[in-house]
Amino acid sequence: MGKAGKISIALLSFISLLCFTAPLICPHNPDTINLDSIKEPPSLHQLLGTDNKGRDILSRVLHGGRISIGIAFVAALLSMGIGLIVGLVSGYAGGKIDIVFMAFIDLILSFPAFLLAIGISVVFPPGIFTVMIAIAVVGWASFARLIRGYILTVKEAAFVESAKAVGCSRMRILFVHLMPQCIPLIFVMMGIKLGGYILTEASLSFLGLGAQPPTATWGAMVSANRAYISSAPWMVFFPGLMIAITSLCFNMMGDALRDRYALKIE
């Protein structure tokens, strides 16, 4: 892996470490309102300044990061799981099952993705789980298509034939012999997709469909603070910067993975 890939992974680990240990390391409570110190610019005491209710932005950004990164990860795992199973079954079974699954996959992929995610998020009450489900429902299709394509190329391989010859059941071939083959591929795909998931999560929270106030998420912070953009720009700048950096690191990691495994996936 190149330098860019390594740096991005190191930076991601650092950001995740800060975010997930936020309750231990933050000097201020993220939700404590302090009306004596509203809209204070960044200073040594409060590194990223305070918001319109006097809440410490650094603490809110770090606590929010837990949710934003966590949602992206769980959503990626969910879409990976669904995509893996659908792709395996569709690719291995072939025939009518394959046609039906593929039609469904194409249908999902042909909808405008973000509008579909909005549509799904309004079905459930807004919150963390809703966002996860919305991202996963839109996201599994590309995993499934990748896995199906891969299974089509390996299902005629010698090891599958020999498994058949010694009398393995279809289920056994599918889950014991074929599934492990897909694991590296699917993790690479997950690495490639995570940057986009961070952005989708942030965008849904920005529209108010994510975790509800006072819980901080990066997207919701940008959205809530944007009224103060000219009087207190740091309130908008830092949460957005965190989204950009995290997503950039994930995308760089994705590129590095793609180069390394010479994958052609979009």
């Binding site: 249908l107 042909s110 405008p112 973000f114 509008l115 909005i118 549509g119 309004v122 079905v123 940057g195 952005l199 942030a202 965008s203 920005f206 529209l207 997207g219 940008v222 959205s223 944007r226 953009i229 000219s230 720009p233 908008v236 700048f237 957005g240 910067l241 989204i243 950009a244 997503s247 950039l248 994930f250 995308n251 760089m252 590129d255």
Partner: protein, 310 residues
């Protein structure tokens, strides 16, 4: 050619029937009742009954769907449950706005993206290439709602050059177009570079060089021509998605387009609005795909859309 186009346009009919029936069942399957959002959950049962009869949601889904298709055949989309305005009238206001924004951002994205991609590919391995590649991956990672706010802060609140939000003439269009174009520039740059780099190592390029053509001539006559197909594909995809509305950009800049219209429809469960937007969006995507197909035909003579010449 005419035959091919006619065939493709005829295919629109079953496709639209499919999309409408699917969206129709999906929206009806959504939990939540538009009547409650219209009159509130505590309204008297008689009022709720009356509203249901008015919008027809007391009948079976199948009958409702037939009714909707009949409405469509008359060239109508029904009325919004909330504003009681004709959805068609609203679409006629919002769609041109969305078209303007989509064209505006494409006008920024296409020249910049292709230029940066070509530059990056021609200078591959150098510092220029690295800078452009880093910028393009950054462009893909920045959330539109944040870059939009920063652009607005800088150009309209600090420099006071352009209005921060609103819908209308050219001056309102510039900032949202740039915002929306940023990720598109990034994608285009990456695709252009990737395609060119792949073509540079092909045998016909070596041949062209071997017969003594100047670098410049090789690039323009042989390489760029072959890179057009993937570029047209990407531009078509982006344009199609912009015509479905750019929810975030429209929200930030107060642009009165399809994206916000659709989102408000979805949030309020305003079924006629959702249906109208999805139908218009789908038709646009299909039409753009058709245009892209026709362009393929002209860009690469090996691709024949009709006839048996092979």
């Amino acid at each position: 050619m005419k035959k091919y186009l006619a065939k493709k346009l005829l295919l629109l009919i079953p496709l639209l029937l499919g999309v409408t029936s699917l969206t129709f069942t999906l929206t009806k399957a959504l939990p939540g009742d538009p009547v409650f959002s219209m009159v509130g959950e505590r309204a008297q049962p008689e009022v709720i009954e009356k509203m249901r009869r008015e919008i027809g949601s007391d009948r079976s889904i199948f009958i409702q769907y037939i009714g909707y298709v009949k409405l469509l055949l008359r060239g109508e989309f029904g009325r919004s449950y909330y504003t009681n305005r004709k959805v068609l009238d609203d679409l006629l206001i919002k769609f041109p706005n969305t078209l303007k924004l989509a064209l505006g951002s494409m006008a920024v994205a296409i020249p910049f993206g292709i230029f940066l991609g070509i530059l990056s590919a021609c200078k591959r391995g150098t510092i220029t290439d690295r800078i452009i590649s880093s910028l393009s991956i950054t462009g893909l990672s920045i959330p539109v709602f944040w870059s939009g706010l920063l652009i607005m802060l800088f150009f309209s609140l600090k420099l006071k050059l352009l209005p921060p939000s609103g819908t209308g003439s050219m001056q309102f269009l510039i900032l949202p177009s740039i915002t929306l174009a940023l990720p598109a520039v990034a994608t285009l740059t990456r695709v252009t570079r990737g395609t060119l780099v792949e073509i540079f190592i092909m045998p016909f390029v070596t041949t062209a060089k071997a017969k003594g053509l100047k670098e410049f001539k090789v690039n323009f006559l042989h390489v760029f021509k072959n890179a057009l197909i993937p570029l047209v594909t990407v531009i078509g995809l982006d344009f199609g998605s912009y015509l479905n509305g750019a929810v975030l950009t429209e929200t930030i800049f107060g642009w009165d387009g399809m994206g916000r219209f659709t989102m408000e429809g979805i949030i309020k469960r305003d079924y006629p609005v959702i249906m109208g937007c999805i139908i218009v969006g789908t038709v646009m995507v299909i039409l753009i795909n058709l245009i892209v197909d026709v362009l393929y035909h002209y860009l690469d003579p090996r691709i024949r859309l009709y006839g048996k010449s092979r």
